[in-house]
């Protein structure tokens, strides 16, 4: 019955010294710009005798070291009846000495150039990776193959150098994914001027029909301090796929589904705003459902229309946040191969006629455009394709 069984476990320490990019290979040395005109000074009768000055891009820091990752893997291989093949892997990684910007250095230090970094971060990641395949020939005319895979990956910061946020604990990155987004919590659209007057102050000039945000720290104004972790990470935590192929006599049929889950994306307000620069088109969905003087829908899809980008609405917020999960029928194929008896008559090795459809179906909560395109629906879309084909071998 059990044809294959393997249990594997590894534990290892890995160093990562690729902590800077190529340009900053000598990370521990200081780096200065010897000619910076904005740091110059000029004197004399007409205040025009002087030199450009010197500015510091990076300070010397010989305490920089590599990151260390402790990796644990546990995997299982299981084969049943020569037909079923299961591979499962669990992993856990804890990384410390992560090189990160020192957010806790106050400006009174007087530093310039890039923010100094220190090996102060700690994060962990864990996940599973499963694939399950089934393959069987029932007789000489009928065979079946099923495959599926599933990955789940989750990460979070354990230690993150950041300011103490005594009045805004939601600003802290600790405990959140490395791909977490912070943004404002949108409540609704402003109803009228009265509503605006009675609400905390927001950004730039805004009026009725613009987005109203929640004042998390109750200080009467919407500021960076009101940004909270919103949505799932921008890279999906779950990716999966499944499909099957089957053959019966001269016919063959296959399909494959692909999907992802636990991902958020944001409709790009700037890129999809209508009328910008006097030329951008108006999306039908926005035309049908936007706030206007006659249709003061405080939960409309699109806020007040404007010929220019409204700074107030152009903030990362839950208003434009969407669930990026989808399941897609990536490919479906039906084929017919001419029997050998016929082939011989026309002196051919093989002849197959087939029909393929790509991206045929997509299941998603997001309907405006293909969710895989992310925040901007005006880009070149994922294409749906149907092909008829003839495969000839002589």
């Amino acid at each position: 019955m059990v044809t294959n069984l393997k249990l594997k476990s590894t534990y290892g320490l890995a160093g990562n010294d690729a902590v800077g990019d190529n340009a900053t290979r000598f990370f521990f040395l200081s780096d200065v710009s010897m000619t910076n005109s904005s740091r110059g000074a000029y004197f004399g009768t007409y205040a025009n005798i002087g030199y450009p000055g010197i500015s510091i891009n990076r300070y010397a820091n010989d305490l920089i070291t590599w990151e260390t990752a402790r990796k644990t893997n546990l995997s299982l291989e299981l084969g049943l009846l020569n037909d079923i093949d299961l591979q499962a892997e669990l992993y856990y990684e804890k990384r410390d000495n992560i090189l990160m910007e020192r957010a806790s250095i106050p400006t009174s230090m007087g530093l310039e150039g890039e923010t100094p970094k220190a090996n102060s971060g700690e994060a962990e990641a864990n996940g599973v990776d499963i694939s399950l395949n089934y393959k069987h020939s029932f007789n000489k005319d009928l065979w079946l193959q099923v495959m599926s895979n599933y990955t789940y990956a989750h990460s979070k910061f354990l230690v993150f150098e950041e300011p103490a946020y005594p009045n805004a604990p939601w600003k802290s990155s600790v405990g959140y994914s490395l791909g977490q987004t912070w943004g404002y919590i949108a409540e609704r659209l402003f109803i009228d001027e009265e509503d605006i007057r009675n609400s905390p102050t927001q950004f730039g000039t805004y009026m009725a029909g613009d987005i109203k945000y929640r004042d998390l720290n109750n200080d009467g104004k919407i500021t960076e301090m009101d940004m909270a972790p919103i949505g799932y990470p921008t890279t999906p935590e779950v990716v999966y796929g499944f499909g099957a192929s089957a053959g019966w006599k001269a016919w063959d049929f296959s399909f494959f589904f692909q999907g992802l889950a636990r991902e958020s994306f944001w409709i790009n307000y700037t890129d999809t705003s209508p009328f910008i620069n006097g030329q951008r088109a108006l999306l039908q969905a926005y035309a049908d459902d936007h706030w206007s003087e006659d249709n003061r829908n405080e939960y409309a899809l699109w806020p007040r229309l404007s010929p220019s980008v409204v700074e107030n609405n152009n903030k990362t917020s839950t208003w434009f946040m969407r669930d990026g999960s989808f399941l897609r029928l990536k490919e479906v194929q039906l084929g017919y191969s001419l029997p050998e008896s016929l082939l011989k008559k026309i002196a051919m090795h093989s002849l197959r006629v087939y029909f393929v459809g790509s991206n045929v179906l997509t299941f998603s909560k997001f309907k405006l455009w293909d969710p895989e395109m992310g925040g901007n629906g005006f880009k070149y879309p994922v294409q749906r394709m149907y092909q008829m084909g003839l495969q000839l071998n002589f």
Binding site: M34, G53, I54, Y59, S108, M109, G110, Y165
Partner: protein
């Protein structure tokens, strides 16, 4: 045993040898990356580092970057609506309109954001310079090295002072914290005001012996760099500030205590601080006089054959415009002032019915400042007996039916009519303010016959005219642009002058203020005090303080009491130093922020006839309301999250 020991030694040596070998192999430093050490490898580079230290000087007198220019009630300007950006609005106007915030403060010199210079970075650069300058070997001359060290110390003190005046208590950054300092080390505390004051002054005293004398500064290439007189004057300014009501035992700030329990403001008034201020001002004046500084009294060559009214006026205008003159102690050289001159100069003549669009008088005096200037007899217009007896004061906003006669024609255009307010004023009024129908002597027109005049009525050449920059009050300044600039119907030229950061008259007025506060009008220094005040008044064509008040004022006894004299000195200071970026700080120092709540006013600039024009009007449609929080600038909210040892300023 012995053998084993030897073996161990050998092994140890081998390990060490291989270890060193490995280190050498890995220690590759690139040749082409300039490091801080490289910036100090010869005199030339070190000098550029010194200039870098200088580059952080706040742009005193700049219309955009100096909050004291236009941040108070001296001037006003319209709001620039988006889409009409050719009419510039300068950033200080936003302070004047009380648009300051804690989330993104204006003129944030703490962080170097939003029109602020990053002064802590400037201080760090001074410290880097001081740490490394002893290592410079190539081409370095020792006398120069000591001078540069003194200059860096001066700048470090100056930057601390600028922050102190803006924020009150500040951290002292005498040495640089290392880049790898722990989180708790970098969270510095604000230090009590008295400690910061003493620190800055000791740093300046330390620098003074090695700073050059004013006469040793080579004007052609070095004018604007620090010298002994500037340092002495700075000490005087700081002592005066520390003695002033804002910080000297002000009860408003007694409860400002940090998380260590340290009180950041003086808890009680210390009258001795005024004595220290007198001393500091006195020694600065003595040094200035030793080095032949004197009030500017030259008569412009252009004017020598002209009427005395014009002669005096040209002298008064050239106090600032004649570059590097005998009165200037420290001139600002870190920006070009052609922008300043462009936006303060009124159009004084017409071009074929069109307007010169490159002259935009948008930064203009308020009616309040116009009224502050004395009468022609050197006393306030609401105190002058002549103004009372002739009802000129009551009628000051009314048009005088009689056109100018006698010497008045040198000040107001013949056969034209204007309000009483513009007649019978002191020479500084006519030298500093451009008003409707006022003669504009100079700027290319140096005789009575050729002199132009302003016409601020709507659609006239100086006045409101949509499509170009205009004055929102119906006035413009004559003060902040050169007397020798020329203006024709199609062009104008600009003569450079360094904006005065300190000039001798300022120092005299500091001294007078300190002496009166320390000992009143009859103390041991009073003769000297009145002598300095009177010197300024004489230069301006006015009689002495006591004489003027006795003869012409409805309050003849005013100079004889401390309170009365205080008022006189403050007013003299406001008039003499008007538009020079002093009043913004003075009002704070005097604990008089309420002054800013007199809503800014001007004439009705849309008026096309004198009758329509001469109506006192508000020039801003919202109500300005400054409160006690505005004495100091707010620290950006985010900084308090990063460093929770910092206390936010009062009221923010």
């Amino acid at each position: 045993m012995n053998r084993i020991f030897k073996f161990k030694i050998a092994l140890l040596l081998m390990i060490m040898a291989s270890g060193f070998g490995a280190c050498d192999y890995l220690e590759i430093a690139p040749d082409n990356v300039p490091t801080i050490e490289y910036a100090f490898n010869n005199r030339y580079n070190a000098q550029r580092y010194l200039y870098t230290c200088y580059s952080f000087r706040p742009a005193i007198g700049d219309l955009d970057y100096d909050p004291a220019m236009g941040g108070a009630d001296e001037t006003w300007q319209y709001i620039s609506y988006s889409g009409f950006n050719i009419y510039r609005t300068f950033a200080p106007a936003r302070v004047a309109r009380n648009e300051q915030t804690v989330t993104e403060p204006l003129f944030n010199h703490w962080d170097g954001r939003n029109y602020g210079q990053a002064l802590w970075t400037g201080i760090r650069n001074c410290n880097i310079f001081l740490d490394n300058i002893p290592n410079v070997k190539v081409d370095m001359i020792e006398t120069e090295r000591t001078r540069w060290i003194a200059e860096a110390k001066f700048l470090k003190a100056y930057y601390h002072w600028y922050l102190l005046r803006m924020y009150g208590p500040i951290p002292i950054m005498d040495v640089n914290l290392p880049i790898s300092a722990s989180v708790s080390e970098v969270k510095v505390w604000r230090q009590p005001i008295d400690d910061v004051v003493e620190y800055i002054i000791s740093l300046l005293n330390d620098a003074i012996p090695d700073l050059p004398n004013a006469s040793e500064i080579m004007e052609s290439s070095e004018a604007g760099r620090a010298d002994k007189l500037i340092a002495y004057t700075l000490i005087a300014d700081i002592r005066l500030w520390a003695a002033s009501p804002l910080v000297n035992g002000n009860s408003r700030y007694r409860n400002m205590v940090d998380n260590r329990g340290v009180a950041l403001f003086p808890q009680s008034e210390d009258p001795n601080k005024w004595a220290l201020a007198v001393q500091a001002c006195d020694s600065a004046i003595i040094k200035c006089e030793e080095q032949r500084k004197e009030l500017y009294t030259q008569v412009e060559a252009h004017t020598l054959t002209q009427h005395p009214v014009f002669q005096l006026q040209s002298t008064l205008r050239q106090v600032i415009g004649d570059r590097w003159n005998s009165e200037l102690i420290w001139g600002s050289t870190n920006y070009s002032n052609s922008t300043l001159q462009q936006y303060v100069t009124p159009r004084i003549l017409q071009r074929n019915g069109n307007y010169m669009n490159d002259l935009m008088p948008v930064w203009v005096p308020t009616l309040k400042m116009v009224e502050l200037f004395y009468s022609s007899r050197g006393v306030p217009i609401d105190e002058d007996t002549e103004w009372r007896d002739n009802s000129w004061y009551i009628d000051r906003y009314n048009i005088r039916p009689e056109t100018p006669t006698g010497d008045e024609v040198y000040l107001i255009k013949q056969a034209e009519k204007t309000v009483y307010l513009h007649y019978n004023r002191e020479p500084r009024f006519y030298a500093d303010i451009a008003f409707d129908k006022g003669i504009y002597f100079g700027n290319g027109y140096y005789t009575f016959a050729t002199a132009q005049y302003c016409n601020f009525l709507n659609t006239q050449w100086s006045g409101f005219n949509p499509g170009t920059g205009y004055s929102v009050t119906g006035y413009a300044t004559k003060k902040l642009h050169g007397f020798t600039n020329s203006q024709t119907a199609t062009t104008h030229t600009v003569e450079y002058f360094p904006f005065p950061i300190y000039r001798l008259a300022d120092l005299y007025l500091m001294y007078a203020e300190a002496v009166n506060e320390a000992e009143g009008p009859d103390g041991p220094n009073s003769a000297k005090m009145f002598a300095y005040l009177n010197e300024i008044r004489q230069r301006a064509g006015l009689e002495d303080v006591k004489e003027s008040w006795r003869k012409y004022s409805t309050k003849p006894e005013k100079p004889n009491s401390k309170e009365g004299l205080r008022e006189i000195i403050r007013r003299e200071r406001t008039i003499e130093l008007m538009f020079e970026g002093k009043r913004f700080w003075d009002l704070r120092r005097w604990d008089k922020i309420d002054e800013l709540n007199d809503q800014p006013k001007g004439w009705k600039i849309e008026g096309e006839t004198p009758d329509d024009f001469y109506k006192v009007s508000r020039v801003y449609d919202r109500v300005i309301s400054f409160t006690a929080k505005d004495y100091f600038f707010p620290i950006r909210e985010y900084d308090l999250y990063v460093n929770d040892n910092l206390v936010q300023n009062y009221g923010w």
